[in-house]
């Protein structure tokens, strides 16, 4: 019998979002009760804003029982820092800022002029985890972002140096997530693992979360570089061969200004953005991130070194 769309219920995205929210809240509460020193990584970007909202709900009517930490490359969009600080104030949580610049000044990492600082974050993150003795580090990474991430557990065990070993991941069954590892290992925890980019935007719309303005269409001076539109900033000066121009753009991801590209867009509202994401033919990283283009396995390699 041929079935038709007419007599079949359509996917209920609202119900789907509630399912995802319930799962994430469960994970956040497990972290709070199983670990002594959790921390939540927060950049002010869209995924970490969703993660922080879920934490707010998970511990309501109490407060979020752990601090948040920003691993700061120093190459920020000012709108994102404002958004970060506004949310921190609203929730009354403690913010720790771990600065890549401090790692550079201390000689822990060496900056390569003209190269993004994203890879350097790994050392700053590892040092901050050791300094504060964090045993669970919550991040907003999603499995749909990248093919190596698609392989990672929700509770991802990391060794003393924060390294991920994809061959020796711990089994993860039912809702019984792994508990505390011994031997100085720690856990990276990704409550948004099962969310897609479209889920994130639909949820932001549903929750009416305030976002940094750069996620919405605006005019900006950009230069085309490596197939992306890079904003002209003090950290990303124009070279002689390039001709900057004004384009109507927005950001799909927000990271280090030097490796995050803008996309041409006229999406000015959350409804516009949800519509745009629902029909896009490019992944968010493919469209906007230079750091994933280095090789076929660049994310896997960075995770093996202790990246988020």
């Amino acid at each position: 019998m041929k079935s038709s769309l007419v007599d079949t219920p359509r996917y209920d995205r609202e119900a789907g979002l509630t399912d995802l929210e319930d799962e994430s809240i469960h994970i956040l509460r497990e972290v709070a009760t199983n670990y002594e020193r959790p921390v939540l990584l927060f950049s002010g970007g869209k995924d970490s804003l969703v993660l922080l909202r879920l934490a707010e709900k998970a511990f309501w009517p109490g407060r979020i029982p752990f601090p948040v930490m920003h691993v700061d490359t120093g190459h920020n969009f000012p709108e994102v820092l404002e958004s970060r600080d506004r949310r921190i104030d609203e929730l009354g949580v403690r913010l720790i800022v771990a600065r890549v610049q401090d790692s550079i000044d201390a000689g822990r990492v060496t900056e390569v002029p003209g190269q993004p600082r994203n890879p350097l974050q790994t050392v700053t993150l590892r040092d901050a985890i050791a300094e504060h003795g964090f045993d669970a580090v919550l991040g907003g990474a999603r499995r749909d972002e990248e093919k190596a991430r698609a392989k990672e557990r929700v509770f991802s065990v990391r060794d003393e140096s924060g390294r991920w070993d994809p061959r020796n991941q711990w089994p993860e069954l039912w809702q019984l997530y792994s508990g505390k590892p011994r031997h100085g290992y720690h856990m990276r925890v990704f409550p948004l693992s099962n969310w897609t980019e479209l889920d994130i935007w639909s949820y932001i719309r549903r929750e009416r979360l305030a976002l940094p303005s750069i996620y919405f269409a605006h005019e900006r001076v950009v230069v085309p570089r490596d197939g992306m539109l890079i904003a002209v900033t003090p950290h990303t000066p124009v070279t002689e061969e390039e001709s900057p121009r004004v384009e109507m753009v927005r950001y799909r991801t927000v990271g280090d200004t030097t490796c995050t590209g803008a996309v041409r867009s006229t999406a000015a509202t959350l409804d516009d953005i949800v519509g745009e994401i629902a029909t896009t033919r490019l992944t968010e990283r493919g469209a906007t991130r230079a750091d994933d283009r280095t090789s076929d396995a660049s994310m896997e390699d960075r995770k093996r070194e202790g990246y988020f």
């Binding site: 219920p9 789907g16 009517p61 508990g179």
Partner: protein, 414 residues
């Protein structure tokens, strides 16, 4: 209303699983242009003319280099009718533990069989795991139908074999679909080459499938953490997730392990109070009694769960070091983590015959029956009655790593 459907896929090596998933993802437009370009470029580097979609599915360098799947990958795709989370698990026996990981949260398992070879041992193992973990619906995808000229008899024979297997394994509901993943027959659209097949395509079947609720234990709610609001010291609630059944405001519930009863006065969430919370909802419950309940306490309606430190369980062993009598592990259960001693290893399941064989140890990937004694009491349901309160992990004390999956058969008297 259909929400998320969690699907796990399993098949023996070379049954065409990665090809099937690649086709499902591509036809559902879940492979984006930049991903497809990357796969095409990688395929060319390997000397292939056509894009090999397995290179997209296999996310680790080692997997792409060796052409095998090592660990579970999670895929997300949606159609207008439904959204899917697909746990793509490896077929090789060495990675059975990863299949167990995928199956434990799945609503549906797709088991691939090669139309030429039928139900080989790996298919039987996967069916056994799906049955054991109580995946609620199984789809037997009889693949490579093109290589048997789309013969109805070949399909019927394999489906008939599976029927017997499903009966023995207690798989409650299953459907067989004849497909060719390579050519797309019956994957997304019905194929003209199987006129004798009256069912839906694989995707249409998944889109329209109604998943029955099968947890019969009654309502179960495990306390994750007690909540006290700072601002208002009077607020005392219990945060947790409904493990099975539906919890209603006004319900009289039994509190385990204490065994006392009380009444649910409110079901709260950040977004407002609820009259009822179905399975899976994360909420804060307030009770009429102000007696303290700790993390791991369980609220129930219906049959009261057992409170016991001794149990008989089915174990799926997931590590090289065998499970033997006299060994000590920690048991990680929804209601607590406690030290436990293995009293006895009684039998091992022979996956080809499905017979229980006497044994005194379980090795990697073995499934068998064991007796355990825990240092403290746990609140237990039979796994067949509740996935959440009937399942547990064996945890190695020295590393904290889970080394086995346990399914409560029944509690015993200490």
């Amino acid at each position: 209303m259909p929400g998320l459907l969690r699907v796990t896929t399993a098949g023996s090596v070379n049954d065409g699983k990665s090809t099937l998933i690649g086709r499902l993802l591509q036809d559902a437009k879940a492979i984006f242009d930049d991903q497809f370009a990357a796969v095409s470029a990688a395929s060319r580097r390997r000397g292939r003319d056509e894009a090999d979609l397995a290179l997209h599915v296999d996310g680790l360098r080692e997997e792409r280099e060796q052409g095998i799947t090592i660990d579970v990958a999670y895929r997300y795709f949606g159609t207008p009718r439904r959204a899917f989370v697909l746990a793509d698990t490896p077929g090789h026996v060495e990675y059975t533990r990863n299949m167990v990981t995928g199956a434990s949260t799945a609503d549906v398992a797709i088991i691939l069989a090669d139309a030429r070879h039928g139900l080989v041992e790996q298919c039987r193992r996967h069916a056994a795991i799906a049955g054991l973990l109580r995946v609620r619906h199984v789809v037997l995808a009889v693949n490579k139908m093109d290589l048997v000229d789309f013969a109805e008899e070949a399909f019927d024979r394999i489906a008939g074999d599976f029927d017997q297997l499903a009966r023995r394994l207690g798989i409650p509901s299953w459907t067989a679909v004849p497909i060719s993943a390579l050519h797309g027959d019956n994957v997304v659209a019905r194929s003209g080459r199987t006129p004798w097949y009256s069912g839906q395509s694989l995707l249409a079947h998944l889109e329209t499938l109604e998943i029955p609720a099968v947890d019969d234990a009654g309502t179960r709610f495990v306390v994750q953490l007690p909540v006290r609001a700072d601002a208002d010291g009077n607020y005392q609630g219990y945060a947790g997730r409904v493990a099975s059944g539906t919890l209603h405001a006004g319900d009289t519930v039994t509190v385990s392990p204490g065994g006392w009863t009380t009444r649910v006065t409110a079901i709260d969430t950040f977004d407002g109070a609820l009259e009822e919370a179905p399975t899976g909802r994360s909420v804060v419950v307030r009770l009429a009694d102000d007696r303290e309940i700790e993390r791991g306490g369980l609220l129930s309606t219906g049959a009261v769960p057992a409170v016991s430190g001794s149990l008989v369980a089915t174990a799926c062993w997931l590590t090289d070091e065998p499970l033997r009598p006299g060994e000590r592990y920690r048991i990680r259960h929804a209601t607590g983590e406690v030290a436990a001693l293995v009293d006895a290893v009684e039998s091992r399941l022979d996956v080809s015959t499905l017979d229980s064989m006497p044994t005194d140890e379980l090795g990697l990937n073995d499934i068998g029956t064991v007796r355990l004694r825990a240092a403290e009491r746990l609140v237990l349901d039979r796994y067949t009655e509740s996935r959440v309160t009937g399942g547990f992990l064996f945890v190695e004390d020295s590393s904290g790593a889970p080394v086995g999956a346990g399914l409560v058969e029944h509690p015993t008297r200490a």
